[in-house]
Amino acid sequence: MTAAAPVLPAVARRPSTWTVYLWELRKLRAQKRTYLGLGAAVVVPCLFIVALMVETGGPERVPFGRYVRETGLAIPLVLLLFGSIWLFPLIVSLVAGDIVAAEDRNGTLKTIFTRSVERQQLFIAKVAASFTYAVTALLLFALVAAVFGGLRFGFHPLTTLSGNTVGVGRGLVLTGGALLAYLMPVLSVACIALLLSTVTRNSAAAIVGALMISLVMQLLGIISGLEFLRPYLLSTQFDAWQGLLRDPIDWAPIGRAAWVCAAYAVPSLFAALVVFLRRDVTGG
């Protein structure tokens, strides 16, 4: 062994997790699939409004379906309902299911772990970037629906599910609250997709897997005889926001959605983190 403690050039130091997060966002910005998901979030509301303009009928049988031609404020709410079946699970898992597996596909985990970043930092950054993307997609979706809906059908007072009418301002606040409530199951799907992405190391498997899980839960929800399961299914939580649009506000479904979604999301994230921290990246 050589003696002396040399003064070494401190060229490398640990980056902040914020920096790692910003780079995860830049990676997303450089990938086509990000725009595919965000594009779907923009195109679907536009198509819906065009269909309303061309057709005479409307989605009478869903909540707010009767009011789509009365006020633009009803459009995002009706679309939230349609979006929960497959659109949002798909949009979200498109990115969350790929964000870890893409590193495997490109063999880049080794490249970045030979730098000074810690694994848990990268994982946190990936979760945060997936969530950021999900929030962006949902906001775009609602914004496009409300703006184009309002331009076409006007910004008029909204009739709630209890039958009373609320003004435009209150209606927008309630819609914002509905989006927040809707975000809970959306982020839970993201967490499941992240887990599958980490475990399978394969984008397609993770995306299809997360989508299948969402669809299977919806199927379980409509099978008679399994009604006792319904309150605990992720798919049911996509409707929790409707409690906000009652008078008085029914907080029960929202409170339940909070803990049911956490019960899906937290174990998924924890399992994904454990797998991510323990995996061997030297081979690829």
């Binding site: 040399p6 003064v7 050039p9 980056p15 990676k27 450089a30 490109n106 490249t111 970045i112 000074s116």
Partner: protein
Amino acid sequence: MQSTDPPAASLSADPSRALAGTPPIEARGLINRYGHVTAVDNVDLTVQRGDVYGFLGPNGAGKTTTLRMLLGLIRPDAGVAGFVEAPRFYPYMSGRRNLELVAALDGGGARDRIDGALDTVELADRQGDKVGGYSHGMRQRLGIAGALIRDPALLILDEPTTGLDPAGMRDMRVLVRRLADQGITVLLSSHIMDEVEELCDRLAIVRSGSVIYEGRLDELLHSTGQRYRLRTTDDERALEVAAHQPGVGDVRRDGDGLSVAADEDAAAGLSIALVDAGLGIRALVPAAASLEELFFRLTEGDANGAAPSQERVPA
């Protein structure tokens, strides 16, 4: 199961340029076992400052395992950068963006060195193109640029020319030379002898996890017995003269002349003896042993027992 034996291994990696005379790498007794297989068996390495140090061995000799051990033992803040086999980048981002990313993951201090690194590896004019469109050679060079932005005093390159076309190999060799000229110590593993002979000052030759030669390349080339090629006006008689000349041995016909084993003094004596015998000397030139020849002699073990040829006994 992989086990390293810390008590048997000691290593100092101190690439700080401030400390002249201290080898950047001094490894003693590196051992690595996978179950009953000993992949690296008691390897000693000494890399001097400013060396281009060759780490030569056939595939599967334990080169990469040894380099990984070195990389694992070296403190990451010690000014060392290396890449092991093919470096991978994000294909959907530009070469420059990829370097910015790895610089950011090192704390951002390396950002200012990106331009210089891109110039050194001659990718400055392609820095804006996506890595997905890069050739294999360009990706390898980008990998070196990624290592350079750490401002290393020591660079460890594992088979950087593997899989490259002849032009890519030439570029890579020019680059390694340029790095050495910039004062960077380079540890270069390779199974290509030309490359090591062309680039390296010192080398270690490994076989089956053991170092069978370590030292200066020119000393190795000299140490193994010098030969001379001889052409005269009458090779038949020259053969007789040479066979009886003291200090000259192993006289053979070789192409259109003769080949003899002799040192410088014996060769001088031989020339006098030939002239005394009435022969005209057309040529008497030293035939340098090529590294390739030596390598096969050392790694396969020849009749002279120049190389240790024992099989390793599993632990």
